[in-house]
Point group: C2
């Protein structure tokens, strides 16, 4: 797959060998998470808010209540930063200094566009639901006209994008390898536990296939 | 424990019943994670960068290479936002609209202070290491003078702080409870897998106790 063009703002300067700009890496990181952290300014104060997202091609969709400060601020067309991070493990070196974390992250800079067109908006909500849980959209009641009005959808083009990836074991100073300190990686993973049916259900329904063996 | 005083900027306005301001909730959220997302501005563009942190009392410590843009920017005393988020589960409602996520998040606003005092700086690095892996500090080689110079430590006071928490099952529209749609919660959890000893080790060492049954 093709590359995103690094810019002065997205070129990874610290530890540049961790920087990645290819769509394959960026899309894998975006598609295997579903919560991002959105950064924006209000009166010069940065805010960082966790929220869900979906991706369709080179567009990232955000959504929320039409009444929310974040959606109103971003809908006005201000600079935004969206960051998605996976933590894959603790990297335990022989010195405190060389401790690290294995991670994969994507940083997107740009300006979001409010999605007005009802067809694109409905499609974005489908993308959204399917991004979190593939197969869910056909099962559920779709948004009513009133629910569509209560929801704002933002589209952020994937143009100024970079990824940063650290993998592998610790890198210690040569002299430290002789120290009697356990070193290596503690892998971390997000797993799903047993689904918990709603206590308010009217009847028991079979568990949908997409909830058995859920993993990202 | 006592409360943080909500301000105009930290009072949770959307879904205010999810807002929490007590130290107990805030500290539990901060202490059970170790990666935060830091928001700051460079030339009016917000950036959101994932990084490690540690907490000591009402102070959050950040650190990084003295050469990094984030550390240099924040060390100059600009407004910052630090957000910590746990994702606890997918909340599956009968309508697309009422789908949600169970989460716990903390948002801290303020201005960070560069830690210059060598004793406080060393203590912050201890807090840091212990925050990620309790028991690790006594095992490892401590930072040399040169490593201390290469590291910047920032202290962010926990003053303007709020937490937001969602728990429990879906809340559906009354009419939707009759729909034949599986509804409930899919709990998510971060777990540690088997520790992987460094391939470059000179000898096999017993696994430290803090790596058996690691959980946050």
């Amino acid at each position: 797959m093709s590359q995103f063009q690094p810019t002065e703002r997205t070129q990874v300067k610290r530890l540049p060998k961790r920087g990645r700009y290819d769509r394959e890496t960026v899309f894998q990181i975006l598609d295997s998470a579903f919560v991002c952290h959105v950064g924006f300014n209000v009166d010069g104060q940065p805010y960082v808010i966790p929220t869900n997202y979906g991706r369709s091609g080179d567009t990232l969709y955000l959504h929320g209540s039409s009444a929310s400060r974040m959606l109103k601020t971003l809908g006005a067309g201000v600079p935004v930063c969206v960051t998605v991070t996976h933590i894959d493990g603790l990297v335990l070196a022989r010195s405190a200094f060389h401790h690290s974390v294995n991670y994969r992250s994507v940083v997107i800079l740009g300006t979001a566009r409010l999605v007005d067109d009802p067809a694109e908006k409905m499609e974005a909500l489908r993308v959204f639901t399917e991004h979190v849980l593939k197969g869910r959209w056909v099962d559920v009641r779709h948004p009513s006209e009133q629910e569509m009005k209560a929801t704002s959808v933002l589209a952020l083009p994937l143009e100024e994008v970079s990824a940063k990836v650290r993998t592998g074991g610790p890198v210690d100073d040569e002299a430290d390898y002789a120290l009697p300190v356990w070193a290596g990686v503690l892998p971390l993973e997000t797993v799903a536990k047993a689904p918990e049916p709603d206590a308010l259900r009217k009847s028991d329904l079979p568990l949908p296939a997409y909830l058995k063996n859920y993993s990202r």
